[in-house]
Symmetry: C2
Subunit: 96 residues, 2 copies
């Protein structure tokens, strides 16, 4: 069973993820991305998909043309876990 | 400028797309898909993405693990056009 982050762990993790926003209920984090076009947006999604599958931890996400919205949350524990933090860091590296 | 479908054209098109649901305001059509796992779901999305890019007509869509929700609408005319019907038919072929 994957554990929920404690409030202290969550605060420390979010400090290192300044582009992500905590959901009002604290159960997930979100980030929006904008690319020059659909090819760039879906290329990014493909990179995220491969990393997500490798980690066996998958995003909730949507795409409209050049925009991608990602929410990370851990279903097994009903909130944020270290898996979300790890995937968010990998995603940030793709666009940094 | 791409034209909106007339009510008659829309009705005729939807009769051939029985798995798609018209939005209450008539501006788009939606279909939900469920796959065995994320790899199958994202593989399907990749096939749709390539067809969408080739047609220069892109879906609004979201994915959570093995589920994909697609909405088709034509931004240029603020509603349904023949482009949506053509892409819906291509998508249906991928899962038929």
């Amino acid at each position: 069973m994957i554990a929920l982050l404690s409030p202290e762990e969550r605060e420390a993790a979010l400090a290192k993820l300044p582009d992500w926003t905590l959901d009002p209920d604290g159960t997930g984090i979100r980030r929006s991305f904008k690319f020059p076009n659909f090819v760039k947006a879906f290329g990014f999604m493909t990179q995220v998909a491969l990393r997500a599958e490798r980690a066996d931890h998958h995003p909730e996400w949507s795409n409209i043309y050049n925009r991608v919205e990602i929410r990370l949350s851990t279903h097994e524990c009903g909130g944020l876990s270290k898996r979300d933090v790890a995937l968010a860091k990998k995603i940030d590296l793709l666009v940094s």
